[in-house]
Amino acid sequence: MWRDASTWAAEAAAVFAKEWRCEFRTLYALNTLALFAFTTLVVVSFSLGPLGVERSAGSAVLPVLLWIILLFSVAAGLPRTFVQEEESQTAMALRLSATPSALFCGKLLYNLTLVLALEVLVTPAYLIMTSLRVASPGLLVAVLAAGGFGLATGSTLVAAIIAQARSKGTLFSVLSFPIFLPLLILAVELTRGAVFGDPGGVAVPVLLLYDASLTVAGLMLFPLVWNP
């Protein structure tokens, strides 16, 4: 059993390593995510930054905008995960070689590291450029980690579904809406709680529970989506 688990993990690790090797050589997702995040960051900081709105109003609005920046950056870069495989016709070799669950986890890990890297770059810059003060930094880090995991899992699953469709962009938006809506509502509420130092009625475990549900659903659905 342990031998099976270790070979499964090695398979997932191979997919993860392959994704990053290709990414470092093309810089497609990194460039897309970084450019989109930078552009929106500058726009938001100019219009709603220290000079744009009152501090009290900003504290209420800025957490929402942070998650909008993260969501749209993710939507611009992450769906390529599986679309690229179909467009370059490498999906056939993958289908004939990889265990679906290991493939899903390898891709998910890659997307997760991308999202976390994006958050590490965007969030401090966002806080500085908007002069947003965070009363509970620990809570903010927890929310970003859990929310980022949800974004990565949801994007990976939806990317697999849309990869074989014709109008990929439209389908991604349609399918993402019900998946990301509860996640973003929770994440925004918790981020607002971190800013004001009062998480209110929503707790991080609720977000983690949603992440876990998404992951289980992804692992169960992926083999059906990926294979005929």
Binding site: T7, A10, E11, A14, V15, K18, R21, C22, R25, T26, S88, Q89, T90, M92, A93, L94, R95, L96, S97, A98, T99, A102, P223, N227, P228
Partner: protein
């Protein structure tokens, strides 16, 4: 030309290939039809019966029947669009047939579509590799996915004279075909599904590929070869003509 497997004086009757279409007679050429329904190979056996597949309103496969056993080669021919590639995709487990049965056994154990996908060796024109990685990196990646040591299959790669340090995107079409062969044989599959296996090869490449196929059959493996025209192949157990 393929060299017939040696040391098998009394060959088993080869499994048949035939195409049922609107009650038309089977188009089997060569090999023997029928007479082995109860035969179960100790090593491997592929049998498919009445396989049907549609794409929307277009019926591509309309009840195809055939099979191969150890050391046998089934040649599938037919014009473009006759369903050769679709049949091979169904056999490999990449496509689910709309009807009919596909049964593949190794060592007497039946393998479902998911297991079949990972066991068979496939060469197909639309099989591509990662252009951002070298040939060696590509093969190492797929060896890891197949849970094999990364140096497995190096002898085959050496024979195919693949430039391991060249980026896959920089390969010529002939070299890409060699890479497909190297990839298909990487895990020493018992069943090879070859769709236009000699396309784009130069004379040397085709000779190497034919030798590899002959050795595969001599070692007790089986192969299904699809090509628009009749290939000059020795030791063909059965021919399946999908011509419309």
């Amino acid at each position: 030309m393929l060299t017939p497997p040696r040391g098998r004086g009394s060959r088993r009757p080869p499994l048949a290939g035939r195409h049922r279409k609107d009650g038309s007679p089977p188009t089997l050429q060569g090999g023997a039809a029928g007479g082995h329904c109860g035969y179960i190979s100790p090593v491997l056996q592929l049998r498919f019966e009445n396989v049907r597949r549609r794409f929307g309103r277009l019926s591509v496969l309309q009840g195809v029947t055939g099979g191969v056993g150890p050391g046998e080669l089934l040649a599938v021919t037919g014009p473009n669009g006759s369903g050769k590639s679709t049949l091979l995709r169904c056999l490999s487990g990449l496509l689910a047939p709309d009807g009919g049965t596909i049964e593949y056994r190794e060592n007497g154990h039946p393998l479902d579509a998911a297991a079949r996908r990972r066991r068979v060796g496939v060469v197909a024109p639309d099989l591509a590799f990662y252009g951002e990685m070298t040939v060696g990196e590509n093969l190492e990646f797929f060896a890891r996915l197949r849970r094999m040591p990364p140096d497995r299959g190096l002898a085959v790669l050496d024979r195919l004279q693949l430039p391991l340090d060249r980026m896959a995107s920089a390969l010529s079409s002939g070299m890409r075909q060699r890479l497909r062969w190297g990839w298909a044989l990487l895990h020493s599959p018992r069943l090879l599904l070859l769709d236009e296996p000699f396309q784009n090869f130069d004379a040397a490449g085709e000779r190497i590929a034919r030798e590899l196929l002959a050795e595969h059959l001599a070692g007790g493996g089986a192969a299904v070869v699809a090509n628009p025209s009749t290939l000059e192949l020795d030791d063909v157990a059965g021919r399946l003509d999908l011509g419309r």
